[in-house]
């Protein structure tokens, strides 16, 4: 629940289009020409024929291929919501990825809820499979990395693992948009979602460190012992900023792995449109191969995120 609310609050990275209907004050829009250098060719209407820039091999639509592909992996607003906070407008739109997070969370709650009913000494069926996963997370990931305090953190690790796994797997379902429903896509392909997940790990890491080493002891032990006194402030600043590289790496690793697979598949299918329809057998075969790889990557990335979270929590348990 906290994940959903937090991701909703932090889902401010909206795409450039689909912003009509949201009241924005005149002062918040960038002045015309201010972003001339960085917007580049997007100042011209997308899809229009670009003179000279995109006429590679004479096909005028080739320049639009990147835009078409990125349209599919980007977020789009379904219900624009928000509120005014003084001068700024805080956008809390319900977007496609938010709805997909709800779908993944709903499936997770239903599956785990149904599976956890039949508790018995000898487990069978769905409960058995669930217990296999949870025991794997507890024994291989949590106990090996965190040590003897692992009870406090195993539930977060299980939540993170299953939620990320279900979000990644939902992205592989080919359910398109129909009616008002925006379609099922990869919620972890949005950098806002992965940044919030990494932020949870970061906050939990700090809390774990402060619980294990004392609230003040954690910060004083951030710098390893044996550092000469004169160097201590500099080392503290370096170590403090080094605390943030790990969640950043978690964010980008999960986000880029999820998005890269989808972009490759979209591009391979788009070749059928842009070269000729007769490349379709080869194109679809390659796309199927990448799809299988993506299935594997979905599992591995959920596991790697969970394992690195456990590792970071474990690293804070003892002073250097």
């Amino acid at each position: 629940m906290i994940v959903l609310v937090a991701a909703l609050l932090l889902a401010q990275a909206q795409p450039e289009h689909h912003r009509e209907g949201v009241p924005v004050p005149e002062t918040a829009r960038p002045a015309a020409g201010e972003h001339g250098a960085t917007l580049g060719h997007q100042e011209v209407a997308p899809g229009a024929v670009h003179k000279g820039e995109h006429e590679k091999s004479g096909e005028e639509h080739k320049g639009g291929i990147a835009e078409h592909i990125f349209e599919h992996v980007q977020d789009e607003t379904v219900v624009p919501l928000g509120f005014w906070a003084g001068q700024r407008y805080v956008r809390l739109d319900i977007t496609k990825h938010v709805i997909n997070m709800w779908i993944a969370a709903g499936i997770l709650l239903i599956v785990v809820g149904l599976a956890a009913r039949k508790r018995a000494v000898i487990p069978k069926g769905g409960y058995n499979m669930l217990e296999t996963f949870v025991m794997f997370i507890r024994d291989e990931i949590s106990v090996k990395n965190i040590g003897h305090n692992n009870d406090q953190y195993t539930s977060y690790l299980c939540t993170a693992f299953f939620f990320i796994l279900f979000m990644n797997l939902c992205g592989l379902l080919p359910i398109p948009a129909f009616g008002g429903f925006p379609g099922v896509s990869t919620a972890t392909g949005n950098v806002s979602v992965t940044v919030v997940l990494a932020l949870f790990t970061f906050v939990l890491t700090q809390i774990a460190g402060m619980r294990a080493q004392g609230a003040v002891g954690y910060w004083t032990h951030l710098v390893p012992g044996g550092v000469p006194g004169a160097l201590w402030p500099l080392m503290f600043v370096i170590e403090f900023f080094g605390l943030f590289t790990k969640p950043f790496a978690l964010t980008v690793r999960l986000f880029a792995n999820m998005v890269a697979g989808h972009i490759v598949i979209f591009f391979l299918i788009a070749l059928t449109l842009f070269i000729s329809v007769y490349v379709a057998p080869v194109s679809v075969a390659f796309a199927l191969g990448i799809f299988m790889l993506e299935l594997f990557v979905a599992l591995v990335q959920a596991y790697v995120f969970t394992m690195l979270s456990a590792l970071f929590i474990g690293m804070t348990q003892h002073a250097h």
């Binding site: 003179k51 000279g52 690793r253 880029a256």
Partner: protein, 94 residues
């Protein structure tokens, strides 16, 4: 073909199609993406060869070696994808 005038900044007035700032940006994105994949290929190749050798020496440790190999491959690929994301941003925003 005349070179662009000294003050030409717009994309629709440039005469030369070879070395304006946008084509250099696209070229950089392409070369960057290729180099990133090159690094990943070397790294994961070495990793896989070490894993094969270790499993050949002690087949009973094959499961543990396989798990560690997959974790290390995912981490190396994560670093590669940082570079790929930068190249994608460059290619789309330029």
């Amino acid at each position: 073909m005349p070179l662009p005038a000294a003050g030409a900044t717009g994309i629709l007035e440039v005469e030369s199609l070879t070395m304006n700032q946008f084509s250099l940006g696209y070229l950089a994105a392409g070369i960057g993406a290729g180099l990133a994949v090159l690094g990943a290929g070397f790294g994961i190749g070495r990793l896989a060869s070490a894993a094969m050798e270790g499993t050949a020496r002690q087949p009973s440790a094959g499961g543990d070696i396989r798990t560690s190999m997959i974790i290390a491959a995912a981490l190396i690929e994560g670093v590669t994808l940082f570079a790929e994301v930068v190249c994608i941003i460059l290619a789309v925003k330029v």
